[in-house]
Protein backbone atom coordinates (compact mmCIF):
# COMPACT_ATOMS: atom_id res chain seq x y z
CA UNK A 1 0.00 0.00 0.00
CA UNK A 2 1.63 3.18 -1.20
CA UNK A 3 0.74 6.77 -0.70
CA UNK A 4 -0.50 8.64 -3.78
CA UNK A 5 1.68 11.75 -3.84
CA UNK A 6 -1.23 13.79 -5.18
CA UNK A 7 -2.98 13.60 -1.80
CA UNK A 8 -0.37 15.56 0.19
CA UNK A 9 0.24 17.97 -2.71
CA UNK A 10 -3.48 18.59 -3.15
CA UNK A 11 -4.01 18.85 0.59
CA UNK A 12 -1.23 21.34 1.13
CA UNK A 13 -2.22 23.65 -1.71
CA UNK A 14 -5.90 23.50 -0.76
CA UNK A 15 -5.09 24.60 2.78
CA UNK A 16 -2.61 27.31 1.79
CA UNK A 17 -4.90 28.51 -1.01
CA UNK A 18 -7.89 28.76 1.32
CA UNK A 19 -5.81 30.65 3.89
CA UNK A 20 -4.63 33.14 1.29
CA UNK A 21 -8.16 33.68 -0.05
CA UNK A 22 -9.51 34.39 3.43
CA UNK A 23 -6.58 36.63 4.26
CA UNK A 24 -7.06 38.41 0.94
CA UNK A 25 -10.72 39.09 1.79
CA UNK A 26 -10.05 40.51 5.25
CA UNK A 27 -6.73 42.33 4.78
CA UNK A 28 -6.76 46.13 4.31
CA UNK A 29 -6.03 47.53 0.84
CA UNK A 30 -2.83 49.19 2.13
CA UNK A 31 -1.20 45.75 2.22
CA UNK A 32 -1.30 45.66 -1.59
CA UNK A 33 0.60 48.83 -2.31
CA UNK A 34 3.66 46.68 -3.03
CA UNK A 35 1.85 44.41 -5.44
CA UNK A 36 0.77 47.26 -7.73
CA UNK A 37 -2.60 47.58 -6.00
CA UNK A 38 -3.65 44.06 -6.94
CA UNK A 39 -5.05 41.84 -4.20
CA UNK A 40 -2.62 39.05 -5.07
CA UNK A 41 -3.39 37.06 -1.96
CA UNK A 42 -7.00 36.66 -3.06
CA UNK A 43 -6.28 35.90 -6.72
CA UNK A 44 -3.24 33.70 -6.29
CA UNK A 45 -4.93 32.01 -3.34
CA UNK A 46 -7.76 31.05 -5.71
CA UNK A 47 -5.24 29.65 -8.20
CA UNK A 48 -3.63 27.52 -5.47
CA UNK A 49 -7.03 26.44 -4.21
CA UNK A 50 -8.15 25.26 -7.65
CA UNK A 51 -4.82 23.49 -8.22
CA UNK A 52 -5.07 21.76 -4.84
CA UNK A 53 -8.66 20.65 -5.34
CA UNK A 54 -7.91 19.32 -8.84
CA UNK A 55 -5.00 17.29 -7.45
CA UNK A 56 -7.23 15.88 -4.71
CA UNK A 57 -9.94 14.97 -7.21
CA UNK A 58 -7.45 13.11 -9.41
CA UNK A 59 -5.99 11.27 -6.44
CA UNK A 60 -9.44 10.37 -5.19
CA UNK A 61 -10.55 9.11 -8.60
CA UNK A 62 -7.47 6.91 -8.79
CA UNK A 63 -8.47 5.14 -5.55
CA UNK A 64 -11.87 4.36 -7.09
CA UNK A 65 -10.54 2.76 -10.24
CA UNK A 66 -7.98 0.59 -8.46
CA UNK A 67 -9.23 -2.89 -7.55
Amino acid sequence: MRLDVRFPIGGMFTIIGAMLVIYGLVSPAAVYERSLGINVNLWWGLVLLVFGVVMLVFAYRATKTQP
Binding site: I9, R34, L36
Partner: protein, 569 residues
Amino acid sequence: MSHIQLGGIDYAILIIYFVFVLGIGWALRRVIRSSEDFFLSGRSIPAWIAGLAFISANLGAQEVIGMGASGAKYGIMTSHFYWVGAMPAMVFVGLFMMPFYYGSRARSVPEYLKLRFDEKTRGLNAITFAIMTVFSSGISMYALAKLLELVLGWSFHASIIVTGVIVLAYIFLGGLTSAIYNEVLQFFLIVLGFLPLVLLGLKDVGGWSGLTSKLAVVATNAGFEPGAWSHSWKYTDAATHNPMGIEWFGLIMGLGFAMSFGYWCTDFLVVQRAMAAGSMTAARRTPLIAAVPKMLMPALVILPGMLAIGMHATRGGFLPIGTDGQPNYNLAIPMLLAHYLPTGLLGLGLTALMASFMSGMAGNVTAFNTVWTYDIYQTFIRPGQSDSHYLRMGHAATVFGILASVVAAYAATRFNNINDILQLVFSFVNGPLFATFLLGMFWKRTTGHAAFFGLLTGTFAAAMHYGLTLPHGAVPGIKGGFLGTVLHTYPSEMALNFWTAIVAWTSCFVTTLAISLFTRRTKTDDELRGLVYSLTPRQSDGAMPWYKRPVTLAVGILAASAVLNVIFW
Protein backbone atom coordinates in the same frame (compact mmCIF):
# COMPACT_ATOMS: atom_id res chain seq x y z
CA MET B 1 19.86 46.98 5.18
CA SER B 2 16.69 46.52 7.19
CA HIS B 3 15.17 43.10 7.53
CA ILE B 4 11.91 42.10 5.92
CA GLN B 5 9.08 41.82 8.42
CA LEU B 6 6.94 38.71 8.23
CA GLY B 7 3.33 38.43 9.38
CA GLY B 8 1.58 35.58 11.17
CA ILE B 9 0.19 34.15 7.92
CA ASP B 10 3.72 33.94 6.46
CA TYR B 11 4.90 31.83 9.35
CA ALA B 12 1.71 29.76 9.17
CA ILE B 13 2.41 28.87 5.51
CA LEU B 14 5.98 27.90 6.33
CA ILE B 15 4.81 25.70 9.19
CA ILE B 16 2.14 24.02 7.05
CA TYR B 17 4.88 23.18 4.54
CA PHE B 18 7.05 21.68 7.29
CA VAL B 19 4.12 19.61 8.52
CA PHE B 20 3.47 18.22 5.04
CA VAL B 21 7.08 17.27 4.24
CA LEU B 22 7.40 15.52 7.59
CA GLY B 23 3.97 13.96 7.11
CA ILE B 24 5.05 12.43 3.80
CA GLY B 25 8.08 10.89 5.49
CA TRP B 26 5.90 9.58 8.31
CA ALA B 27 3.30 8.12 5.95
CA LEU B 28 5.99 6.29 3.99
CA ARG B 29 7.84 4.81 6.95
CA ARG B 30 6.21 1.39 6.49
CA VAL B 31 7.21 1.14 2.84
CA ILE B 32 10.86 0.53 3.73
CA ARG B 33 11.53 -3.18 4.09
CA SER B 34 14.76 -3.75 2.17
CA SER B 35 17.79 -1.69 1.22
CA GLU B 36 16.41 -1.43 -2.36
CA ASP B 37 13.28 0.18 -0.91
CA PHE B 38 15.39 2.69 0.98
CA PHE B 39 17.96 3.51 -1.71
CA LEU B 40 16.03 2.94 -4.93
CA SER B 41 12.36 3.23 -3.92
CA GLY B 42 12.06 -0.47 -4.76
CA ARG B 43 12.22 0.63 -8.44
CA SER B 44 8.54 1.41 -8.56
CA ILE B 45 8.16 5.15 -9.16
CA PRO B 46 5.91 6.24 -12.07
CA ALA B 47 7.64 8.24 -14.81
CA TRP B 48 5.97 11.61 -14.16
CA ILE B 49 6.89 11.52 -10.47
CA ALA B 50 10.47 10.46 -11.18
CA GLY B 51 10.68 13.16 -13.87
CA LEU B 52 9.54 15.97 -11.58
CA ALA B 53 11.86 14.70 -8.83
CA PHE B 54 14.70 14.61 -11.36
CA ILE B 55 14.24 18.29 -12.08
CA SER B 56 13.51 19.24 -8.48
CA ALA B 57 16.66 17.59 -7.10
CA ASN B 58 18.59 19.75 -9.54
CA LEU B 59 16.60 22.85 -8.54
CA GLY B 60 18.45 23.48 -5.29
CA ALA B 61 18.90 26.84 -3.61
CA GLN B 62 22.17 27.35 -5.46
CA GLU B 63 20.37 26.88 -8.75
CA VAL B 64 17.61 29.34 -7.88
CA ILE B 65 19.86 31.96 -6.27
CA GLY B 66 22.72 31.38 -8.72
CA MET B 67 20.62 31.53 -11.89
CA GLY B 68 18.86 34.65 -10.62
CA ALA B 69 22.27 36.18 -10.00
CA SER B 70 23.50 35.18 -13.46
CA GLY B 71 20.33 36.57 -15.01
CA ALA B 72 21.23 39.92 -13.49
CA LYS B 73 24.91 39.65 -14.38
CA TYR B 74 24.69 38.22 -17.91
CA GLY B 75 21.06 38.69 -18.94
CA ILE B 76 19.20 36.28 -21.22
CA MET B 77 22.47 34.57 -22.20
CA THR B 78 22.07 32.67 -18.92
CA SER B 79 19.35 30.68 -20.70
CA HIS B 80 22.17 28.83 -22.49
CA PHE B 81 22.50 26.84 -19.27
CA TYR B 82 19.04 25.47 -20.13
CA TRP B 83 18.39 25.41 -23.86
CA VAL B 84 21.96 24.54 -24.82
CA GLY B 85 23.44 23.28 -21.57
CA ALA B 86 20.63 20.94 -20.51
CA MET B 87 18.15 19.94 -23.24
CA PRO B 88 20.49 17.95 -25.54
CA ALA B 89 22.17 16.19 -22.61
CA MET B 90 18.86 15.32 -20.95
CA VAL B 91 17.56 13.88 -24.19
CA PHE B 92 20.79 11.92 -24.66
CA VAL B 93 20.75 10.38 -21.20
CA GLY B 94 17.11 9.38 -21.60
CA LEU B 95 17.33 7.90 -25.07
CA PHE B 96 20.83 6.45 -25.20
CA MET B 97 22.25 5.97 -21.71
CA MET B 98 19.27 4.92 -19.62
CA PRO B 99 19.06 1.53 -21.36
CA PHE B 100 22.48 0.73 -19.85
CA TYR B 101 22.01 2.37 -16.46
CA TYR B 102 18.59 0.86 -15.91
CA GLY B 103 19.02 -2.31 -17.96
CA SER B 104 22.21 -3.34 -16.17
CA ARG B 105 20.34 -3.26 -12.83
CA ALA B 106 23.23 -1.24 -11.41
CA ARG B 107 22.15 0.41 -8.17
CA SER B 108 24.26 3.51 -8.69
CA VAL B 109 26.41 5.24 -11.29
CA PRO B 110 29.68 4.02 -9.67
CA GLU B 111 28.26 0.49 -9.68
CA TYR B 112 27.73 0.76 -13.43
CA LEU B 113 31.44 1.62 -13.71
CA LYS B 114 32.25 -1.52 -11.73
CA LEU B 115 30.14 -3.70 -14.01
CA ARG B 116 31.51 -2.09 -17.14
CA PHE B 117 35.15 -1.61 -16.07
CA ASP B 118 36.55 -2.60 -12.71
CA GLU B 119 36.61 -1.99 -8.97
CA LYS B 120 39.23 0.77 -9.04
CA THR B 121 37.30 2.95 -11.51
CA ARG B 122 34.23 2.52 -9.35
CA GLY B 123 36.19 3.39 -6.21
CA LEU B 124 37.64 6.55 -7.74
CA ASN B 125 34.24 7.74 -8.89
CA ALA B 126 32.42 6.71 -5.67
CA ILE B 127 34.86 8.41 -3.32
CA THR B 128 35.11 11.69 -5.23
CA PHE B 129 31.33 11.72 -5.68
CA ALA B 130 30.64 11.05 -1.98
CA ILE B 131 32.93 13.89 -0.89
CA MET B 132 31.45 16.25 -3.46
CA THR B 133 27.82 15.62 -2.50
CA VAL B 134 28.49 16.23 1.19
CA PHE B 135 30.27 19.47 0.45
CA SER B 136 27.70 20.71 -2.03
CA SER B 137 24.91 20.08 0.41
CA GLY B 138 26.96 21.86 3.09
CA ILE B 139 27.70 24.82 0.85
CA SER B 140 24.06 25.24 -0.14
CA MET B 141 23.11 24.99 3.55
CA TYR B 142 25.56 27.79 4.24
CA ALA B 143 24.26 29.86 1.35
CA LEU B 144 20.66 29.58 2.46
CA ALA B 145 21.35 30.25 6.14
CA LYS B 146 23.41 33.32 5.20
CA LEU B 147 20.64 34.57 2.95
CA LEU B 148 17.94 34.14 5.61
CA GLU B 149 20.19 35.89 8.12
CA LEU B 150 20.72 38.80 5.76
CA VAL B 151 17.16 39.18 4.50
CA LEU B 152 15.04 38.13 7.47
CA GLY B 153 17.45 38.47 10.35
CA TRP B 154 16.98 34.81 11.25
CA SER B 155 19.69 33.12 13.27
CA PHE B 156 22.26 31.34 11.11
CA HIS B 157 22.46 28.42 13.54
CA ALA B 158 18.69 28.03 13.80
CA SER B 159 18.28 27.93 10.01
CA ILE B 160 20.89 25.23 9.70
CA ILE B 161 19.54 23.13 12.54
CA VAL B 162 15.87 23.36 11.54
CA THR B 163 16.43 22.55 7.87
CA GLY B 164 18.98 19.83 8.67
CA VAL B 165 16.65 18.12 11.13
CA ILE B 166 13.64 18.23 8.80
CA VAL B 167 15.52 16.84 5.80
CA LEU B 168 17.10 14.19 8.01
CA ALA B 169 13.72 13.18 9.43
CA TYR B 170 11.94 12.68 6.15
CA ILE B 171 14.78 10.80 4.45
CA PHE B 172 15.42 8.67 7.52
CA LEU B 173 11.75 7.67 7.67
CA GLY B 174 10.94 7.10 4.03
CA GLY B 175 14.26 6.83 2.20
CA LEU B 176 14.45 7.77 -1.47
CA THR B 177 10.66 7.46 -1.92
CA SER B 178 10.14 10.13 0.69
CA ALA B 179 12.82 12.34 -0.89
CA ILE B 180 11.22 11.90 -4.32
CA TYR B 181 7.65 12.54 -3.15
CA ASN B 182 8.80 15.63 -1.33
CA GLU B 183 10.72 16.76 -4.39
CA VAL B 184 7.50 16.65 -6.41
CA LEU B 185 5.71 18.69 -3.73
CA GLN B 186 8.67 21.08 -3.61
CA PHE B 187 8.66 21.40 -7.39
CA PHE B 188 5.05 22.62 -7.43
CA LEU B 189 5.75 24.90 -4.50
CA ILE B 190 8.76 26.47 -6.23
CA VAL B 191 6.78 27.07 -9.43
CA LEU B 192 3.66 28.40 -7.71
CA GLY B 193 5.68 30.40 -5.19
CA PHE B 194 7.86 32.26 -7.69
CA LEU B 195 5.38 32.70 -10.52
CA PRO B 196 3.42 35.60 -8.97
CA LEU B 197 6.73 37.39 -8.44
CA VAL B 198 7.63 37.14 -12.12
CA LEU B 199 4.14 38.17 -13.24
CA LEU B 200 4.09 41.22 -10.97
CA GLY B 201 7.62 42.20 -11.97
CA LEU B 202 6.82 41.95 -15.67
CA LYS B 203 3.62 43.93 -15.26
CA ASP B 204 5.48 46.61 -13.37
CA VAL B 205 8.22 47.13 -15.97
CA GLY B 206 5.75 47.04 -18.87
CA GLY B 207 6.16 43.50 -20.18
CA TRP B 208 9.03 42.13 -22.23
CA SER B 209 9.42 45.33 -24.27
CA GLY B 210 9.56 47.42 -21.10
CA LEU B 211 12.15 45.06 -19.69
CA THR B 212 14.32 45.19 -22.83
CA SER B 213 14.36 48.99 -22.74
CA LYS B 214 15.51 48.88 -19.10
CA LEU B 215 18.10 46.22 -19.91
CA ALA B 216 19.38 48.42 -22.74
CA VAL B 217 20.40 50.94 -20.06
CA VAL B 218 22.19 48.16 -18.14
CA ALA B 219 24.02 47.09 -21.30
CA THR B 220 25.03 50.58 -22.40
CA ASN B 221 26.27 51.41 -18.90
CA ALA B 222 28.46 48.32 -19.03
CA GLY B 223 29.82 49.34 -22.44
CA PHE B 224 27.98 46.82 -24.61
CA GLU B 225 25.48 47.11 -27.45
CA PRO B 226 21.99 47.94 -26.07
CA GLY B 227 20.67 44.44 -26.83
CA ALA B 228 23.44 42.56 -25.02
CA TRP B 229 21.21 41.61 -22.05
CA SER B 230 18.16 40.63 -24.11
CA HIS B 231 19.70 38.53 -26.90
CA SER B 232 21.06 35.06 -26.27
CA TRP B 233 23.10 34.49 -29.46
CA LYS B 234 23.29 37.78 -31.35
CA TYR B 235 26.48 39.00 -29.66
CA THR B 236 28.32 35.69 -29.39
CA ASP B 237 30.35 36.33 -32.57
CA ALA B 238 33.20 37.53 -30.34
CA ALA B 239 33.80 37.08 -26.62
CA THR B 240 34.24 40.81 -26.08
CA HIS B 241 30.76 41.64 -27.44
CA ASN B 242 28.73 40.02 -24.66
CA PRO B 243 28.67 40.18 -20.85
CA MET B 244 29.43 36.48 -20.47
CA GLY B 245 32.70 36.93 -22.31
CA ILE B 246 32.42 33.83 -24.46
CA GLU B 247 32.12 33.20 -28.19
CA TRP B 248 29.72 30.69 -29.77
CA PHE B 249 32.28 27.88 -30.18
CA GLY B 250 33.42 27.81 -26.55
CA LEU B 251 29.80 28.11 -25.51
CA ILE B 252 28.59 25.14 -27.54
CA MET B 253 31.57 22.86 -26.90
CA GLY B 254 32.29 23.87 -23.30
CA LEU B 255 28.82 24.38 -21.88
CA GLY B 256 26.64 22.57 -24.42
CA PHE B 257 28.85 19.52 -24.64
CA ALA B 258 31.59 18.95 -22.04
CA MET B 259 29.98 20.51 -18.97
CA SER B 260 26.36 19.69 -19.59
CA PHE B 261 26.78 16.06 -20.67
CA GLY B 262 29.21 15.59 -17.79
CA TYR B 263 26.55 16.68 -15.34
CA TRP B 264 23.24 15.38 -16.70
CA CYS B 265 24.54 12.06 -17.97
CA THR B 266 26.85 10.99 -15.16
CA ASP B 267 25.78 12.72 -11.96
CA PHE B 268 24.15 10.15 -9.71
CA LEU B 269 22.17 12.88 -7.96
CA VAL B 270 19.86 13.13 -10.96
CA VAL B 271 20.38 9.66 -12.50
CA GLN B 272 19.24 8.03 -9.22
CA ARG B 273 15.73 9.42 -9.78
CA ALA B 274 15.52 7.67 -13.14
CA MET B 275 16.97 4.46 -11.70
CA ALA B 276 14.10 4.46 -9.18
CA ALA B 277 11.52 4.41 -11.99
CA GLY B 278 9.21 1.44 -12.27
CA SER B 279 10.16 0.18 -15.73
CA MET B 280 12.68 0.68 -18.51
CA THR B 281 10.25 2.89 -20.43
CA ALA B 282 9.56 4.94 -17.30
CA ALA B 283 13.31 5.28 -16.67
CA ARG B 284 13.92 6.49 -20.21
CA ARG B 285 11.03 8.90 -20.00
CA THR B 286 12.18 10.36 -16.66
CA PRO B 287 14.82 12.79 -18.02
CA LEU B 288 12.58 13.58 -20.98
CA ILE B 289 9.64 14.50 -18.78
CA ALA B 290 12.04 16.50 -16.62
CA ALA B 291 13.23 18.39 -19.70
CA VAL B 292 9.81 19.95 -20.27
CA PRO B 293 9.69 22.03 -17.05
CA LYS B 294 13.47 22.54 -17.24
CA MET B 295 13.01 24.23 -20.60
CA LEU B 296 10.57 26.75 -19.09
CA MET B 297 12.56 27.29 -15.90
CA PRO B 298 14.42 30.38 -17.22
CA ALA B 299 11.13 32.30 -16.92
CA LEU B 300 11.07 31.47 -13.25
CA VAL B 301 14.71 31.81 -12.18
CA ILE B 302 16.55 33.93 -14.78
CA LEU B 303 13.83 36.47 -15.52
CA PRO B 304 13.68 37.70 -11.88
CA GLY B 305 17.41 38.43 -12.05
CA MET B 306 16.92 40.40 -15.26
CA LEU B 307 14.00 42.31 -13.72
CA ALA B 308 16.09 43.12 -10.67
CA ILE B 309 19.07 44.46 -12.61
CA GLY B 310 16.78 46.39 -14.96
CA MET B 311 15.19 48.16 -12.00
CA HIS B 312 18.55 48.57 -10.32
CA ALA B 313 19.83 50.51 -13.31
CA THR B 314 16.75 52.63 -13.97
CA ARG B 315 15.17 53.20 -10.56
CA GLY B 316 18.38 53.38 -8.63
CA GLY B 317 19.86 51.17 -5.93
CA PHE B 318 17.46 48.25 -6.11
CA LEU B 319 20.22 45.80 -5.21
CA PRO B 320 22.53 46.43 -2.25
CA ILE B 321 26.11 47.16 -3.22
CA GLY B 322 28.67 44.61 -2.01
CA THR B 323 32.15 45.25 -0.64
CA ASP B 324 33.63 44.93 -4.15
CA GLY B 325 31.55 47.88 -5.37
CA GLN B 326 29.38 45.61 -7.55
CA PRO B 327 25.68 45.04 -6.91
CA ASN B 328 25.07 41.93 -4.79
CA TYR B 329 23.62 39.76 -7.56
CA ASN B 330 22.80 36.91 -5.20
CA LEU B 331 20.12 39.06 -3.62
CA ALA B 332 18.23 39.57 -6.90
CA ILE B 333 15.44 37.10 -6.12
CA PRO B 334 15.15 37.84 -2.37
CA MET B 335 14.98 41.60 -3.03
CA LEU B 336 12.24 41.09 -5.61
CA LEU B 337 10.31 38.93 -3.15
CA ALA B 338 10.50 41.70 -0.58
CA HIS B 339 9.64 44.38 -3.13
CA TYR B 340 6.51 42.91 -4.70
CA LEU B 341 4.97 40.32 -2.43
CA PRO B 342 2.68 41.46 0.36
CA THR B 343 2.50 39.48 3.56
CA GLY B 344 0.73 36.24 2.67
CA LEU B 345 2.31 35.64 -0.73
CA LEU B 346 5.63 36.66 0.81
CA GLY B 347 5.36 33.63 3.09
CA LEU B 348 4.65 31.47 0.06
CA GLY B 349 7.68 32.88 -1.78
CA LEU B 350 9.99 32.28 1.17
CA THR B 351 8.58 28.79 1.62
CA ALA B 352 9.37 28.17 -2.06
CA LEU B 353 12.94 29.29 -1.42
CA MET B 354 13.16 26.90 1.54
CA ALA B 355 11.66 24.15 -0.61
CA SER B 356 14.27 24.63 -3.32
CA PHE B 357 16.98 24.44 -0.72
CA MET B 358 15.56 21.27 0.84
CA SER B 359 15.05 19.51 -2.48
CA GLY B 360 18.65 20.13 -3.46
CA MET B 361 19.94 19.03 -0.09
CA ALA B 362 17.78 15.88 0.01
CA GLY B 363 19.02 15.05 -3.48
CA ASN B 364 22.59 15.23 -2.27
CA VAL B 365 21.94 13.25 0.88
CA THR B 366 20.07 10.40 -0.82
CA ALA B 367 22.77 10.12 -3.48
CA PHE B 368 25.44 10.18 -0.79
CA ASN B 369 23.91 7.48 1.43
CA THR B 370 23.46 5.16 -1.56
CA VAL B 371 26.98 5.58 -2.93
CA TRP B 372 28.47 5.31 0.54
CA THR B 373 26.55 2.15 1.44
CA TYR B 374 26.70 0.24 -1.86
CA ASP B 375 29.88 1.48 -3.48
CA ILE B 376 32.17 2.15 -0.56
CA TYR B 377 30.94 0.28 2.51
CA GLN B 378 29.63 -2.88 0.82
CA THR B 379 32.48 -2.95 -1.68
CA PHE B 380 35.57 -2.01 0.27
CA ILE B 381 34.75 -2.16 3.99
CA ARG B 382 32.28 -4.95 4.82
CA PRO B 383 31.10 -7.03 1.88
CA GLY B 384 28.80 -10.03 2.23
CA GLN B 385 26.55 -8.83 5.05
CA SER B 386 22.78 -9.30 5.19
CA ASP B 387 20.49 -6.81 3.46
CA SER B 388 19.16 -5.54 6.80
CA HIS B 389 22.73 -4.73 7.78
CA TYR B 390 23.07 -2.47 4.74
CA LEU B 391 19.67 -0.95 5.41
CA ARG B 392 20.85 0.02 8.90
CA MET B 393 24.02 1.41 7.36
CA GLY B 394 21.83 3.46 5.00
CA HIS B 395 20.07 5.03 7.96
CA ALA B 396 23.38 5.70 9.66
CA ALA B 397 24.83 7.18 6.46
CA THR B 398 21.85 9.53 6.22
CA VAL B 399 22.59 10.87 9.71
CA PHE B 400 26.28 11.06 8.93
CA GLY B 401 25.65 12.79 5.59
CA ILE B 402 23.57 15.51 7.27
CA LEU B 403 26.10 15.98 10.08
CA ALA B 404 28.96 16.20 7.59
CA SER B 405 26.98 18.80 5.59
CA VAL B 406 26.52 20.85 8.76
CA VAL B 407 30.27 20.66 9.42
CA ALA B 408 30.92 21.70 5.82
CA ALA B 409 28.49 24.61 6.21
CA TYR B 410 30.38 25.84 9.28
CA ALA B 411 33.71 25.31 7.54
CA ALA B 412 32.43 27.60 4.81
CA THR B 413 31.80 30.35 7.38
CA ARG B 414 35.37 30.05 8.69
CA PHE B 415 37.30 29.90 5.44
CA ASN B 416 35.99 32.39 2.95
CA ASN B 417 37.24 30.81 -0.21
CA ILE B 418 36.73 27.16 0.73
CA ASN B 419 33.64 27.19 -1.54
CA ASP B 420 35.58 28.47 -4.50
CA ILE B 421 38.37 25.96 -3.98
CA LEU B 422 35.95 23.05 -3.67
CA GLN B 423 33.89 24.07 -6.67
CA LEU B 424 37.09 24.25 -8.59
CA VAL B 425 38.28 20.80 -7.55
CA PHE B 426 34.84 19.38 -8.42
CA SER B 427 35.02 20.85 -11.87
CA PHE B 428 38.38 19.14 -12.41
CA VAL B 429 36.96 15.80 -11.24
CA ASN B 430 33.66 16.11 -13.15
CA GLY B 431 35.10 17.49 -16.37
CA PRO B 432 36.44 14.24 -17.81
CA LEU B 433 33.66 11.86 -16.62
CA PHE B 434 31.50 11.98 -19.71
CA ALA B 435 34.38 10.88 -21.95
CA THR B 436 34.74 7.72 -19.85
CA PHE B 437 31.03 6.93 -20.04
CA LEU B 438 30.80 7.70 -23.73
CA LEU B 439 33.68 5.37 -24.59
CA GLY B 440 32.54 2.77 -22.06
CA MET B 441 28.99 2.63 -23.35
CA PHE B 442 29.65 2.85 -27.07
CA TRP B 443 33.00 1.14 -27.62
CA LYS B 444 33.38 -2.38 -26.26
CA ARG B 445 37.16 -2.23 -26.62
CA THR B 446 37.50 0.33 -23.77
CA THR B 447 39.35 -1.27 -20.85
CA GLY B 448 39.31 -0.72 -17.09
CA HIS B 449 42.89 0.53 -16.89
CA ALA B 450 42.17 2.97 -19.69
CA ALA B 451 39.06 4.30 -17.94
CA PHE B 452 40.87 4.74 -14.63
CA PHE B 453 43.97 6.46 -15.98
CA GLY B 454 41.91 8.43 -18.49
CA LEU B 455 39.92 9.93 -15.61
CA LEU B 456 43.08 10.79 -13.69
CA THR B 457 44.66 12.35 -16.78
CA GLY B 458 41.54 14.38 -17.50
CA THR B 459 41.44 15.72 -13.94
CA PHE B 460 45.16 16.52 -14.03
CA ALA B 461 44.90 18.21 -17.43
CA ALA B 462 41.98 20.33 -16.20
CA ALA B 463 43.98 21.44 -13.16
CA MET B 464 47.02 22.23 -15.33
CA HIS B 465 44.95 24.21 -17.83
CA TYR B 466 43.36 26.18 -15.03
CA GLY B 467 46.72 26.76 -13.38
CA LEU B 468 48.33 28.10 -16.53
CA THR B 469 45.59 30.44 -17.75
CA LEU B 470 43.79 33.42 -16.29
CA PRO B 471 40.55 35.32 -16.92
CA HIS B 472 40.98 38.92 -18.05
CA GLY B 473 41.72 41.32 -15.21
CA ALA B 474 42.15 38.70 -12.45
CA VAL B 475 45.18 38.15 -10.25
CA PRO B 476 46.77 34.67 -10.25
CA GLY B 477 45.38 32.44 -7.48
CA ILE B 478 41.97 30.92 -7.00
CA LYS B 479 40.74 32.49 -10.24
CA GLY B 480 43.40 30.69 -12.28
CA GLY B 481 47.08 30.97 -13.07
CA PHE B 482 48.16 29.46 -9.73
CA LEU B 483 51.08 27.62 -11.34
CA GLY B 484 52.98 30.87 -11.67
CA THR B 485 53.15 31.17 -15.45
CA VAL B 486 50.19 32.49 -17.42
CA LEU B 487 50.18 31.11 -20.95
CA HIS B 488 46.83 32.48 -22.08
CA THR B 489 44.32 35.04 -20.88
CA TYR B 490 40.60 34.39 -21.38
CA PRO B 491 38.08 37.22 -21.71
CA SER B 492 36.07 36.04 -18.68
CA GLU B 493 35.83 33.52 -15.85
CA MET B 494 33.01 31.79 -17.68
CA ALA B 495 35.22 31.32 -20.75
CA LEU B 496 38.01 29.88 -18.60
CA ASN B 497 35.59 27.41 -16.98
CA PHE B 498 34.14 26.32 -20.31
CA TRP B 499 37.57 25.77 -21.83
CA THR B 500 38.77 23.89 -18.74
CA ALA B 501 35.85 21.50 -19.28
CA ILE B 502 36.78 21.09 -22.94
CA VAL B 503 40.42 20.33 -22.03
CA ALA B 504 39.36 17.83 -19.35
CA TRP B 505 36.99 16.00 -21.69
CA THR B 506 39.38 15.90 -24.64
CA SER B 507 42.41 14.72 -22.68
CA CYS B 508 40.39 12.00 -20.95
CA PHE B 509 38.90 10.89 -24.26
CA VAL B 510 42.26 10.69 -26.04
CA THR B 511 44.04 8.99 -23.13
CA THR B 512 41.28 6.42 -22.61
CA LEU B 513 41.22 5.67 -26.32
CA ALA B 514 45.00 5.27 -26.52
CA ILE B 515 45.42 3.15 -23.39
CA SER B 516 42.53 0.91 -24.48
CA LEU B 517 44.37 0.10 -27.68
CA PHE B 518 47.49 -0.91 -25.73
CA THR B 519 45.86 -2.89 -22.91
CA ARG B 520 44.23 -6.30 -23.06
CA ARG B 521 40.47 -6.57 -22.63
CA THR B 522 39.54 -8.08 -19.28
CA LYS B 523 35.82 -8.41 -19.93
CA THR B 524 34.44 -10.73 -22.56
CA ASP B 525 31.59 -9.82 -24.90
CA ASP B 526 29.33 -11.96 -22.76
CA GLU B 527 30.16 -10.02 -19.60
CA LEU B 528 29.52 -6.74 -21.37
CA ARG B 529 26.05 -7.65 -22.60
CA GLY B 530 23.61 -4.99 -21.42
CA LEU B 531 26.46 -2.60 -20.65
CA VAL B 532 27.72 -1.66 -24.11
CA TYR B 533 25.66 -0.41 -27.04
CA SER B 534 26.85 -2.88 -29.69
CA LEU B 535 26.28 -5.89 -27.40
CA THR B 536 22.83 -4.94 -26.13
CA PRO B 537 19.57 -5.76 -27.89
CA ARG B 538 17.87 -2.58 -29.16
CA GLN B 539 15.05 -1.09 -27.17
CA SER B 540 11.96 -1.88 -29.12
CA ASP B 541 9.28 0.77 -28.88
CA GLY B 542 7.33 -0.79 -31.73
CA ALA B 543 4.47 -1.93 -29.54
CA MET B 544 3.77 1.58 -28.29
CA PRO B 545 1.70 4.08 -30.27
CA TRP B 546 4.05 6.64 -31.83
CA TYR B 547 3.02 9.51 -29.55
CA LYS B 548 3.97 7.54 -26.43
CA ARG B 549 7.45 6.62 -27.61
CA PRO B 550 10.40 8.31 -25.86
CA VAL B 551 11.80 9.30 -29.27
CA THR B 552 8.72 11.38 -30.08
CA LEU B 553 8.99 13.26 -26.81
CA ALA B 554 12.74 13.76 -27.39
CA VAL B 555 12.24 15.24 -30.85
CA GLY B 556 9.53 17.53 -29.51
CA ILE B 557 11.84 18.79 -26.73
CA LEU B 558 14.72 19.49 -29.08
CA ALA B 559 12.44 21.27 -31.54
CA ALA B 560 10.90 23.40 -28.80
CA SER B 561 14.28 24.43 -27.39
CA ALA B 562 15.45 25.31 -30.90
CA VAL B 563 12.39 27.55 -31.25
CA LEU B 564 13.14 29.23 -27.91
CA ASN B 565 16.72 29.89 -29.04
CA VAL B 566 15.39 31.56 -32.19
CA ILE B 567 12.79 33.65 -30.33
CA PHE B 568 15.39 35.06 -27.93
CA TRP B 569 18.17 35.12 -30.52
